[in-house]
Subunit: 378 residues, 2 copies
């Protein structure tokens, strides 16, 4: 696997477009279109926040058929807590894009990221969509990666090429967010394109496992966004043989997808604005993997421990307190090992001494810069 | 109710002592003794952290009889994650104090606050206890309040006088911690003395209600300490008529106790080092009171919202995101009202529009100073 520019357009049959339609104050790119020339198997995983944003609701509705062909993404406004008006804007965005692309509305997905609680200006999107649809191109993948950024300091793209039944299969993906930046602004979004031929059920199973072992293992500050979305489109143009859920080819695809998702998740943590450390919390000896994750996330969400790491201050008592409060079962004499805090990459190993469950969780430190950024943003 | 110096010694039959035995680096007062001249009904509420500190375990053991006569408290060391050795130190502290005071060991309770994971030096305590027991005095209540402080900037004392069946009844209390200071160091401790005559069952019910409506409504940073303890001793010397759980006198006592606990809880939030704001989150319209509290605590624990409040930045979308992630049931068009962020006291009102459950939760803002303090402490 290597970092690719233009990742989204590397799989066969995908094109992108991006432009600035005026949603961002700084006039940066803020509207992107991801398009497959042929219908693609499609599924997504979304925030569990009760106040899921309007585009999340539209995606969930449209994805019921397990098929899609385009995604419209805007940055600068989350279209959340915007009531019926917001829902209409999301729906009409999909409808208009569908019309311009000659598709059914349910084949178009939508995603938004930005400020919560402000109406998304549909007139800007309406004006921009024809231009966007008219500028779809094989070389616009990197532009799309930039258009979904908010306070990210760099675009996040990854791609992988594998071989399935003698055919080259490509996966491309972009992500944005969130790090220590401003998660309610930044939202975690990830879009994945692939030319693999795969049934909906297999795609869904692979995506779930990939997300559970990547984005769901990173905690920035315990704040769940209203807009988090991971969406995959698989258009089948690679022409590989169909795969069943337990054959080697499926494993190969799933492994590549997991690597891409984990790679992007780590890029998100690395880009965490305000953060000075990249932390990996490895928990072993838990009753099961779920409890290991629970314990790891408790450490990752401990303001006290994260402030200590920022200060390069070896306060392991704060790990004890966090794990003790997590609800995960543990022996009183749990073992904690922590590498040098002077380094940028810090790994903490915790052995709960109960069973064989394990998990790794990723996070960053808590810094005055994080507060400065989040105190100032609006 | 008014703030009293020497609060703990205002009820009849209570004496205190405090001294510096060398546990604190700064040579400040670090060992206190609270003593009732006669046996007292006693109960406590403690941390639910799996790694409860040794003194917490000893208290839970000794309080099984519902009776106690003395409390030994040290600051500067939490005696937590200290294994069998730590447990022995806590037990021997109680035993030695009991011997010096002519009591059974189970009549003595112990509490600790300070750094986690370092052995508590029993030789210092052993040397100090005879001096401590020999200096018990009616005028040492304020000194005890100072001896339990860690990074608190001021001692926290409250007392109340009420009339029960024609007899004056006094309640005195001290607390320490935690605010935004350094909760794993600071731990929330509270000790309450009263001369009311009350059965154990009544005392326990009143304490539970008082703690649930005060200390359990404040969240500093979501980090549960390993040492949190609230202990009450009621020695009956006021000579009031016995009370039953549903008579007016019991209500009167419970109301006074609740006021004291809430008063101390607010003093803790006010003293939060690093904090620049005192925030009250009032939630109404919840399915029930428990869900109102859950929603309020989710806001109180949102780093993003607390950083915004520090910046006097009206970012109500972060309240939406926090409540949406809390699990509390709410209508999509929940109503949020927030007073001026320029003031030191900020009240946020949230109406979930579902039912009639309500709760108020107390917290402070998240500041660069909080991180500075917690990055540096060890």
């Amino acid at each position: 696997m290597s970092k690719y520019k233009n990742a989204l357009c590397r799989p066969k049959g995908f094109k992108c477009a991006a432009l600035a339609c005026g949603l961002k104050k700084n006039k940066g790119l803020d509207l992107a279109l991801i398009y497959s020339e042929v219908p693609a198997a499609a599924c997504g995983m979304f925030t569990r926040n009760r106040f899921a944003a309007s585009p999340v609701k539209i995606c969930q509705e449209h994805l019921k058929r397990g098929q899609a062909q385009a995604i419209v993404v805007n940055s600068g406004n989350a279209n959340c807590y915007t009531g019926k008006m917001g829902l209409r804007v999301a729906r009409e965005t999909a409808q208009l894009a569908a019309k311009l692309l000659g598709l059914k509305a349910h084949s178009v997905l939508v995603a938004s990221t930005g400020i919560i609680g402000r109406q998304l200006d549909f007139t800007k999107i309406k004006k921009a969509l024809p231009v966007l649809a008219g500028s779809l191109d094989k070389n616009n993948g990197a532009k799309a990666a930039r258009a979904i950024m908010t306070t990210d300091t760099k675009p996040k793209e990854l791609a992988a090429k594998i071989n399935i039944s003698g055919k080259p299969v490509t996966i491309g993906a972009i992500a944005k967010g969130a790090g220590m930046i401003a998660p309610d602004m930044a939202t975690m979004l990830c879009f994945i394109t692939t030319d693999v031929l795969i049934a909906y059920s297999g795609l869904k199973a692979a995506l779930k496992e990939a997300v559970d072992t990547s984005f769901n293992l990173l905690s920035i500050d315990g704040c769940m966004s209203t807009n988090d979305s991971v969406i995959i489109l698989a258009n089948g143009l690679a022409g590989n043989r169909p795969m069943s859920l337990n054959d080697d080819n499926f494993m190969k695809f799933k492994t590549a997808l997991k690597k891409i998702c984990l790679g992007l998740a780590k890029m998100i943590v690395s880009d965490a604005e305000g953060a000075s450390k990249f932390m990996t919390i490895k928990v072993s000896g838990a009753r099961n993997n779920a409890e290991a994750k629970k314990a790891g996330l408790a450490v990752a969400n401990s303001n006290l421990f994260k402030a200590a790491v920022y200060g390069e201050n070896r306060n392991l008592g704060r790990i004890i307190a966090a794990i003790g409060a997590s609800g995960a079962k543990a022996k009183e004499d749990i073992a904690i090992a922590c590498g040098s805090l002077k380094k940028k990459d810090v790994t903490v190993k915790v052995d709960l001494k109960i069973g064989s469950g394990e998990a790794a969780v990723y996070t960053s430190d808590l810094t005055p810069e994080y507060i400065r950024i989040n105190a100032g943003y609006n």
